[in-house]
Every structure is written in C-alpha cells, then in structure tokens.
C-alpha cells in the first residue's frame, strides 16, 4: 500500500488548524471557568468618547468624495515616480525620458477624461 503524496499535506493542515484553534479553545475554557461575563447596558452601548451617542452611526457619504480620492491617488503615484526620475535625470537616456513622458501623458489623459466628465465640478 502506498501513501498518497498529498497525505503529508493533510497532516500538516490538521496540525496547522489545531495550532490555531487550540489557543482559542483554551481561552474560551478559561473564560468559562474563571471570568464571569458582566455585560450591561452602558458597556454594550456605542463608544462615543464617554458621551451618550445620539442618532445612527451609519451615515452616507457622497460618492464624489471617492472620485476626488482616486484622482488624488493618481497624482500621488505620479509624484512617487517623478521624484527618482528627476534625481537621476542627467544620467538617463533619451528612451527613458520618452517612457517617462508617456507615463505622465497617460496620467494626464486620465485627468483630462475626468475633467471632461465633470467630476471636478462640485455641485
């Protein structure tokens, strides 16, 4: 009888699972034995820096915020790439400069597209 080549993996999986679950089970057992649960209304209330919370915590934000965030991200990434480019500028070949130009143009195109879509106008 020959073992399946994956059998050792199964054993490893079981051991890994036990490694994760055993401490959790121990903690649960400890809590059951020694630490009595003491829930109360104040403890279960929403944490609001000690004040009593008023209203609902689920507030809707405008989707326009996310578009702004994404556009900000574009320029953030661009800055990250432009800085080393600028530092190493004198030692670069013409091909690298063209590549960088294309990269910047691509981002600029994204901005132009967003601008044309009217994302930048806040109403």
């Amino acid at each position: 009888m020959s073992w399946s080549p994956y059998f050792s993996l199964t054993i490893l999986f079981v051991v890994a699972l036990g490694f994760g679950l055993a401490p959790l089970a121990l903690a649960q057992l400890w809590a059951k034995t020694f630490s009595p649960a003491k829930p109360n209304a104040i403890k279960n209330a929403i944490y609001e820096c000690g004040l009593e919370s008023k209203g609902d915590a689920w507030v809707q934000f405008r989707s326009a915020y996310y578009l702004y965030a994404i556009i900000f991200l574009i320029f953030d990434v661009e800055a990250v790439f432009l800085l080393p480019f600028a530092v190493a500028f004198t030692g670069l070949t013409a091909g690298a400069c063209v590549a960088m130009l294309i990269f910047a143009l691509l981002l600029l195109e994204g901005l132009a597209w967003a601008w044309a879509k009217g994302v930048l106008t806040w109403e």
């Binding site: 020694f34 003491k38 829930p39 403890k43 944490y47 000690g50 004040l51 009593e52």
Partner: protein
C-alpha cells in the same frame, strides 16, 4: 501543591522554572496593562512624559495607550475631574472590558486638589468608581506614576483566582456596572456612589 518558596528560587537559579496557573495568569495580566489614552489636565503632561524615552513606561509593558475603552485595562485619571466631565469618565470606565484597574493621578483626581472649594470640581473620582492606586502630587512626577504602576502590579500579583480574596472581576456576584452620575439642578446626582464609596470615617 504549594511549593516551598526557597526551593523555587533555588531551582530558578539552576534553570528550572516552576509556576502555578495563578502565578502565570497574574504575570500575564501585570505584564501588559494597557492604559486608556485620555488626559484631563496638567497631570496628563506628566503621564505623557512617563511614556517617553526618559522614563519609558514600556519597561512595565504599559506603553500601549489605547484610544478606546474596549481595548484598555487601566484608566489613569490624570487631572482635574470637573463635575461636567465626571459622567463621561464614569461612563468610559463602565465601557472598559474586565479586568480593569484605575489609578487616580494627582491631587485633583484624588480629592479635588486646589479646586476643592470650587463649585465645579469633583472631590475625588473615587466617589464614583473603585480606585486601585492613588497618587498625591500636583502634578506627581513621572517617578510617582511609575511607582503607582509597580504598586498596581504588586496588587495584581497578589490576586487569587478563586476563593474569598479574589478580585471583583472574577466574582460573578460583584457589580460590573457603576452608576453614571446625572447632572442635576445644583450638583451631580447622586453626589457619590455609596456602594463604591461609603463615606470613610476619619480617625484622629
């Protein structure tokens, strides 16, 4: 069950460590007392200094100041507790998970301090919640706060898991909720929590 203390020390010198569950548990508790991140007045500056490099509270496993009561074990009441602030402080204490400890830091937090005769300052936070360690001083130096920490650690070390002497959080019958005072027409109502703070008798 109980091991001879001298034998235990001797074995420790030989590289053999023996312990009990209780000791292990208390060691775990006292080595990671996470304070809650809040300060009320000038004592908070000393508390911040205590966590910085010169005094380095991290040596005691208490450098992690949590900005939420759910993750904190220790409330350092650092500063003047005004009557307007007291309900919030007590509510935050209630929202902390057990086990929880309180250090009342500075003259104001333990008695009202220089504002005792004012109309707006609570005469000691121990009127509303159980305080483990009081530190006098105005403000106490960082060394005093470290001393308070060590005192608290000693207190945690002396806790029993079972029996009469066990701490509040291990006792299913002990209260887990402390009355949050309501702002009244002339003063906080009630003016003190009699369950926590029966008026102490002054012995002369």
């Amino acid at each position: 069950m109980a091991i001879d203390q001298e034998l235990k020390i001797e074995m420790g010198k030989q590289g053999v460590f023996v312990t009990t569950i209780q000791e292990l548990y208390n060691w775990g508790r006292r080595s990671s007392v996470w304070p809650m991140q809040f300060g009320l007045a000038c004592c908070a500056i000393e508390m911040i200094a205590t966590t910085m490099a010169r005094y380095d509270l991290a040596r005691f496993g208490a450098e992690v100041f949590r900005p939420s009561p759910r993750q904190a074990d220790l409330m350092i009441v650092a500063g003047t507790v005004t009557k307007k602030m007291a309900p919030q402080v007590v509510r935050l204490y209630n929202q902390m998970a057990e086990p929880k400890y309180v250090i009342a830091m500075g003259a104001c937090a333990i008695s009202g301090g220089p504002f005792k005769q004012g109309y707006n300052v609570l005469k000691g936070i121990d009127r509303y919640m159980p305080v483990d360690v009081h530190i006098p001083g105005c403000p106490p130096r960082p060394e005093a706060l470290i001393q308070a920490f060590m005192t608290l650690q000693k207190k945690i070390d002396s806790h029993h898991l079972t029996g009469e002497g066990r701490p509040r959080y291990l006792d299913p019958d002990a209260p887990g909720e402390f009355k949050v005072p309501e702002p009244g027409e002339h003063d906080l109502e009630p003016a003190s929590n009699q369950g926590v703070w029966p008026v102490p008798v002054v012995i002369r």
